[in-house]
């Protein structure tokens, strides 16, 4: 090394120049030593790290993976960064004059990365230490761990694990010191000096930042979680300390409200908080609306009109059923699933992240009150207790934490929200595409698919109008009441009587008895069902309109009005004889006839022959006992009622009326007849 040679030369001359040069050389030597130290220690540091990461960690198999992650944290990342740093540093060794400057540059380059990587490690260091403590409590485990470490790194000593874990922390704090040492031995007027100075302060900043980050993280983890405490637990937590704390806060708040004490206005923070508030409002509203939407979707999918079976074999009905089933079994459930996974779940996660900042904001407010109190005291008294100082620091940590991270939070949350909304829209479009595809396939198979929509609508309207008419006609048909057979057939004797009444009183006055009437009073009649009477008066002498005075053709008396029904006289047989059996029509009503039907009496009476009779002339006709005959006229041409004109077996002729079965004759007054 030429340096030694120089030194030797300068020490031999001993001139004043030489003094300067001596100190210069000494500085240079020191500098070089410092640089050497930096690089050498870096090498050994990296070596230890690698041993930790690979050998020791892999052998500590009895510890669960989670623990190992906490213990060694991101040691792999640290190794990567430091390896590259070392590489750069070692390269500088070849360039002697500029070495220092290059070293400075290297550190400046790596500043950011070093901060990122070491801050994570430092943040989890506390937890790692806690774990080490728990291991220490188990002697068996402790011995095993110790054994492994000693096998690999004997210099770890008895406190093996904790010794190893603290190494990265020590290293990062050492950098500023090492750089400082080089700086001291560098001439101020060289360009290297400026760079090195910057590097040193940069690494100082790194250390400060890491500390700050650690503190914030501690504060955050302390206050972000809201423990769900029961009332009892809350009460148990109250002690004099907390009480005094809370009362102090309350009094501070009251003083502020009263205007006695100025409130610390922090516009910047307030704006941030407001925006955060809106963001969280947006998220919670969207979440609840989305929940409602999903509920409605579920309800919609519950109803299945396509499951109804109308027993229609083909055509649009079947097409629709296929389509609906397809949609309900495939398209819609898929949509629902995607919606839940890609919109609902993220919304829930997003909503959960709101909790942390909300708690911190609340806590900050509390701590602000403490802080203000302490500030007051500081002004008045000039000094504060240790606790009060701690309270101040807590507030400041909280505040700076929130101010630093809330804007980021707001921005990230909004970005995510936007993405979720876009996903929602895209899913709707995809659903529409799916359904449309299937529906259009279905449509292609329908009869009128070539028609335009307005034309089709007109067609449907017309079709429905027509079928509506048809339905109406069906309904009418079913509603048509066929005449009940309320009328009794009239026998020859009755026919005569009816004719007599008719001629005497006129058609409008005839009534038929609907059910048997038993006379109670002296003037009441007893009549069988079906008897024809003529109305004389529609009330009795006392004015009671429910008793009517009637004429039976032989007798007069009162009958209850409720048992009388208007009797429509049908044209007698004489008039009908010429017609071809019109009576048949009345007995076989079909739905095609639209005229209102009038209850009527079969115009031709059928009677039964009781005794056999032998015809003796061409005017007469033979009878057999029990034979059914049709009476055409109840008297002969001379009006003699003893002979009746009948038709039997297609033949017409006269037979004795007495041979024919007759209805019981109208009872004389006061007699009751068997029904």
């Amino acid at each position: 090394m030429t340096n030694h040679g120089d030194d030797a030369l300068s020490s031999r001359t001993g001139a004043p120049d030489g003094d300067d040069r001596l100190s210069e050389d000494r500085s240079l030597v020191q500098q070089r030593l410092a640089v050497r130290e930096l690089i050498d220690t870096e090498v050994s540091y990296l070596h230890v790290l690698q041993l930790c990461a690979s050998d020791i960690r892999s052998r500590l198999q009895q510890l669960p993976q989670g623990d190992l992650d906490v213990l060694f944290s991101n040691i792999d990342d640290i190794i990567k960064v430091n390896r590259r740093l070392l590489h750069d540093l070692q390269e500088t060794a070849s360039r002697e004059e500029e070495q220092v400057q290059l070293i400075g540059n290297a550190f400046l380059e790596f500043q950011e990365e070093l901060e990122q990587v070491y801050k994570v490690y430092c943040a989890s260091y506390e937890q790692a230490l806690l774990l080490v403590e728990t291991y220490r409590k188990e002697p068996e485990l402790q011995r095993e761990i110790q054994g492994i470490i000693e096998a690999v790194l004997p210099q770890a000593g008895p406190s093996g694990l904790s010794f190893l874990l603290v190494i990265p922390l020590q290293r990062i704090t050492k950098y500023p010191l090492l750089l400082q040492k080089i700086l001291e031995n560098t001439l101020p007027d060289t360009s290297a000096y400026a760079v090195l100075q910057r590097a040193t302060s940069a690494l100082q900043d790194v250390v400060t930042n890491i500390n700050e980050y650690k503190r914030r993280k501690e504060v955050a983890s302390k206050y972000t979680k809201v423990e769900p405490l029961s009332l009892r637990e809350r009460l148990a937590r109250i002690n004099t300390h907390t009480l005094s704390k809370k009362t102090t806060r309350l009094s501070q708040l009251l003083k502020q409200e009263a205007g006695l004490v100025p409130r610390t206005e922090d516009k910047e923070f307030d704006d941030l908080e407001e925006r955060f508030h809106w963001v969280s409002l947006c998220v919670t509203e969207l979440k609840s609306n989305m929940a409602a939407y999903l509920d409605n979707l579920e309800a919609f999918l519950r109803f299945r009109p396509q499951d109804c079976n109308l027993e229609i074999p083909g055509g649009p009905v079947v097409q629709y059923c296929y389509l609906a089933r397809d949609l309900q079994l495939q398209a819609f459930p898929e949509f629902k699933q995607q919606l839940e996974a890609q919109v609902w779940q993220p919304l829930c996660s997003l909503a959960k992240t709101l909790v942390g900042p909300q708690n911190l904001i609340k806590k900050r407010l509390d701590k602000l009150l403490d802080f203000e109190r302490v500030e007051e005291k500081l002004l008045e008294v000039g000094s504060v207790t240790y606790e009060e100082e701690a309270a101040r620091h807590t507030y400041q940590a909280l505040n700076s934490l929130l101010v630093a991270e809330l804007p980021q939070f707001n921005q990230l949350a909004m970005r995510w929200l936007g993405q979720i909304l876009c996903t929602f829209v895209t899913l709707q479009r995809d659903l529409a595409k799916q359904v449309l595809q299937r529906a259009e396939d279905s449509l292609a198979q329908l009869p009128h698919h070539h028609l335009s929509e307005p034309a089709f609508r007109k067609l449907v309207e017309d079709a429905l109008g027509q079928t509506s008419h048809q339905l109406h006609s069906f309904q009418e048909n079913f509603e048509k009441v066929l005449p009940p057979p309320t009328t009794q057939p009239l026998l020859p004797g009755a026919e005569r009587q009816v004719q007599a009444l008719l001629s005497k009183y006129g058609p409008g006055k005839l009534y038929q008895v609907t059910s048997n009437v038993s006379g109670a009073g002296t003037l009441d009649l007893t009549l069988p069902r079906g008897h024809i009477v003529a109305l004389l008066q529609n009330k009795d002498t006392k004015g009671n309109s429910s008793r009517w005075l009637v004429d039976t053709g032989g007798h007069r008396g009162y009958v209850p009005a409720g048992k009388l029904e208007v009797y429509h006289v049908v044209p007698s047989e004489e008039e009908l004889r010429g017609q071809a059996r019109p009576h048949r029509d009345f007995q076989h009503q079909t739905p095609e006839s639209t005229s209102a039907l009038v209850p009527s009496v079969p115009t031709v009476t059928q009677v039964v022959a009781m005794y056999p009779f032998v015809a003796r002339s061409s005017h007469e006709v033979s009878l057999q006992a029990g034979q059914r005959v049709t009476v055409l006229e109840a008297q002969d041409k001379k009006g003699n009622p003893e002979w009746s004109l009948v038709e039997v077996n297609g033949q017409r002729g006269y037979v004795p009326s007495s041979f024919l079965a007759r209805a019981p004759s109208p009872a004389p007054w006061g007699w009751s007849l068997p029904s």
Partner: protein, 290 residues
């Protein structure tokens, strides 16, 4: 002439005998050997022994009426389900509109122009979709639900008609039993007279029943078959309504996704995106880890 007089005298005698006896007619239960063969018909008081309605006719009637009863049930159910389905459809659409409405009312819209643009576009789309949905529901109401109601309104009349037929059948049975009872008695004058009257009473009742029976047997299948032509237009209209609505939906949301500049990506990618967003947020200290 003698032969004429004799029956007349006999008749007078029997009449007076009949009057003096004054025997009221009572229902009789007559278990006979033949009733075993008719054991399938429980021999109730007033039931005719003769099977007045042939089994095949009865069976046909039951079958046709049964089909119509099923159809009634199904159309009623279909109407209900259709109504509920359309109601749920409307509710879904309304809740979608609420989503965009609430977003629009958030103060963030005033601060953030991009957000405002996105939310406005979303709101417009949702409102338009709601309008189309309402139109779709109206069309369904007009062409499916109303016709279903009309179809269903025929059934009460049908059921009444069937009841009336049943009533007529009961009357028929009763009178038939009466006739049979008289037919079994000894054929004396008064018996014959009563028999004759009973037969007279029976005839119109029987004719009435036959008429009702025939009418229903004719009309019921016709009504049942009318459903084929009746429902096809409704369901065709239903399918078309879906096509109209979903093609609008596809267009509107397609345009919107283009406007929002969101390319379609597969599900896994979206999942990863969401995971990434979540871990970004979790990286912040202020967010609690759970």
């Amino acid at each position: 002439m003698r032969s004429e007089l004799v029956p007349q005298i006999v008749w007078c005698f029997s009449e007076s005998l009949h009057l003096s006896l004054r025997e009221p007619i009572r229902a009789e239960v007559r278990p006979k050997k033949t009733s075993l063969w008719l054991a399938q018909i429980p021999f109730k008081i007033g039931q005719p022994k003769k099977q007045i309605v042939p089994k095949t006719v009865e069976r046909d009637f039951e079958r046709e009426y049964g089909k119509l009863q099923q159809l009634e049930e199904q159309t009623r159910r279909l109407q209900k389900d259709m109504k509920k389905s359309t109601d749920a459809d409307l509710a879904m659409s309304k809740s979608a509109v609420k989503i965009s409405l609430d977003l629009l009312s958030n103060p963030l819209c005033e601060q953030d122009q991009d957000f405002l643009n996105m939310v406005t576009a979303l709101d417009t789309a949702m409102k338009r979709m709601d309008a189309f949905n309402q139109e779709k529901v109206n069309q369904i109401q007009k062409t499916v639900i109303e016709p279903l109601k009309k179809f269903g309104s025929v059934f009460p009349s049908l059921n009444m008609a069937v009841k009336r037929r049943e009533q007529a059948l009961q009357d028929y049975r009763r009178l038939q039993a009466k006739v049979e009872k008289y037919e079994e008695k000894e054929k004396t004058g008064p018996v014959l007279a009563k028999l004759h009257q009973a037969r007279e009473e029976l005839r119109p009742v029987r004719d009435d029943f036959e008429a009702k029976n025939k009418q229903l047997l004719d009309e019921m299948p016709r009504f049942y078959n009318s459903r084929l032509d009746y429902f096809q237009p409704s369901f065709e209209s239903l399918v078309r309504a879906q096509v109209v609505y979903y093609s609008e939906m596809h267009k509107i949301f397609g345009d919107l996704t283009q406007q929002l500049d969101q390319p379609g990506c597969p599900d896994e990618q979206r999942e990863r995106e969401n995971e990434a967003r979540l871990s970004e947020l979790r990286a912040l200290s202020i967010v609690a880890d759970d």
